[in-house]
Symmetry: C2
Amino acid sequence: MKKVGVAILGLGVVGGGTYKILKEHRELYQKSYKIDLTVEAVLERNRERAVSLGVEPEKIAANIQEICSNPDVDIVVEVMGGVEPAKSFVLDCLHAGKSVVTSNKELFCKYNHELEVAAKKNHCGLFYEASCVGGVPVIRALLDNLQGNKILSMMGIINGTTNYILTKMAAEGAAYEEVLKEAQKLGYAEANPSADVEGYDATYKLSILSSLAFHTKIPYTKIYREGITNIAVADIEYGKKFGYVLKLLAIGKNGDNGIEVRVHPSFIKSTHPLASVNDSYNAVYITGDCVEDVMLYGRGAGALPTGSAIVGDIIYCATHTNYQYSTFKNTEGPAPGTKFIDNFESAYYIRLNATDKPGVLAKVSSVFAKCKISVAQMSQQRDPACEDGTVPLIFITHVTHENNVNRAVKLINESDEIAKVAAVIRVVS
Amino acid sequence: MKKVGVAILGLGVVGGGTYKILKEHRELYQKSYKIDLTVEAVLERNRERAVSLGVEPEKIAANIQEICSNPDVDIVVEVMGGVEPAKSFVLDCLHAGKSVVTSNKELFCKYNHELEVAAKKNHCGLFYEASCVGGVPVIRALLDNLQGNKILSMMGIINGTTNYILTKMAAEGAAYEEVLKEAQKLGYAEANPSADVEGYDATYKLSILSSLAFHTKIPYTKIYREGITNIAVADIEYGKKFGYVLKLLAIGKNGDNGIEVRVHPSFIKSTHPLASVNDSYNAVYITGDCVEDVMLYGRGAGALPTGSAIVGDIIYCATHTNYQYSTFKNTEGPAPGTKFIDNFESAYYIRLNATDKPGVLAKVSSVFAKCKISVAQMSQQRDPACEDGTVPLIFITHVTHENNVNRAVKLINESDEIAKVAAVIRVVS
């Protein structure tokens, strides 16, 4: 039986889950794949944590060099997160001829070309299914299954923390800050939650996924990003009355005029398959010119679901030899002729806190007309009344350009007679 | 650029779709995968159909031998359906050293071992993603992504025709026969619909999918099968009142006591992700011991969605060399120690048309108690009244064994005082 040795860098949540899966499934893998997968080394500063997981003390490496020079290690799992020292460690391992499996979206999104060059030069594999949407098989679906398509669009709920928060806000009518605190207590949000709630995590993942889907590198810096920190629970409630559910969506579109990529809070129709993806579940909804609509749904995070993706990659790496072709794609830079669209088109939900005086609606309407915004639905809310005596006026617009809305918001906010724009949320279909 | 020649056996719906995709995406594949994919031959008795699709007359082969001996053909796409002559043709192609991509679930389910032996002997690839659930990437997910898991269960809506019929019956309150006729008119059901409506098609697919999931061959003959031809629209309506939706589910479970595999109409809670899979959409809901729940959703049939899966396999085959490992699994026969469970456990929906006399409920209850069936919910319906003056009595049972229910049905039907069992539908969670 082929012996395959694994090293794990970082025994946090995902590293611990991966260790547990490999340990408990050793016999299954021997029987099913004719390989004997064993953990030969771990790199973990917290020695006690390693020992409590059952790691033999002699397998706890003192430094990355011990792992690079260990002849029993074939595949290195990097689950430390962050750019450094993960990047240096991964490069060290590749240069030492070890294949690498990583769950590190930030590292892979920012430095995948550098990693690809090192992997190819040293004839190693580099796998990253676990970097996006945990156990949901979306990267291999894009690489292998959907490769006959021109992918027209993808829409994803690809961050579990924000989906948990928005689901709770909608279900309980609780405010953002309150739900965030609860999520932190439960371990669903980090002490410093900005990577999740500000949408950075989702942009890293969208960069990786849309680069595969659209056959060109999509740098994460090209992705429009807006988090959920300013979402008022009132807007979730108002949206519900119009038949919408609020989600933090990662959106990529590949149209005739170019590519648009964006992460922002979005209202979608409550009948859309993504609308019922709740709590920490994730899903990616992909539209191809042949396959039509496909949705991949499941746990986007967690020790065992993410470990499932990592171990899937480990077994793939251990049982294949020509894996280079199938894992690298579009890492170098945007292909010649790639155009990015900033001034994208969307429908919009706009809430004004309007002064309760005659003529306000006429003034708002005239600003909208001036900015080429056409209103599809409108509603004046009385309940709950605003503290400052203003009245919530809600508009759902027809599809228009982002710039038009920005201009209208500016004009309305500059007018003393109309009062302020309280919320602008894109409506996606 | 690497030139790769394709031959297509059968230019029906899926063959025509595949031809169109290859033709229209040639440049995309050149640019993205550095391969020049061209259709070098077709085998189609209806010459006019081939010509109308744009096939050059000189590329229409007179017989399979012409394709086998054509040095420009590297990959053969078999989309004829049925066992013969598809089986002989595929074996001829493999023996001639051509790799094969097939969408033929019946052929692959019944003869995959024979095909595997021929493919391996001749160092050819044999791909079958399109055989199950059209464009939805479920086979590669089981092969590559979820391979670290012990798969505990899978539940699928894997036949588009029956899902279309059941969705229509539920939405319109129309009878089975009526909706079937409409589906036939629209081309969603065949003139002879039995492969779909009797559940055969679903058993072929479940055999393929569960063999991959459970790491042992699941012969389709081991799958319990019950179609939708006896479903009364009244039961769909009654089920709705209990919060259930009726679906033809393909179910595989891999428990401590053995494997159970079955295809039958099933009530599932309306909040289950599978409940909102409507019309001709398909989905597979997989539970693994690491990944937890994953659902893969999309178009399970149709020219372009199924063509998407076929072309994905063609590109994979054209760009890989060690594909043998990744496509064959568990074709020879059930692994030693594989146990199949016939007398499976389920909750049940049971409708009796009961005589409207005192004591009936007591008698039914005593039969249930005798058969170890415990009732979870019960409802006596007045509307619509049965033509024969009987009263619909509906029971939802707790989980019990299949044999217990069969025994109870027999006892009730034998009793003149209670009247007849009108429907028994398993309730799945």
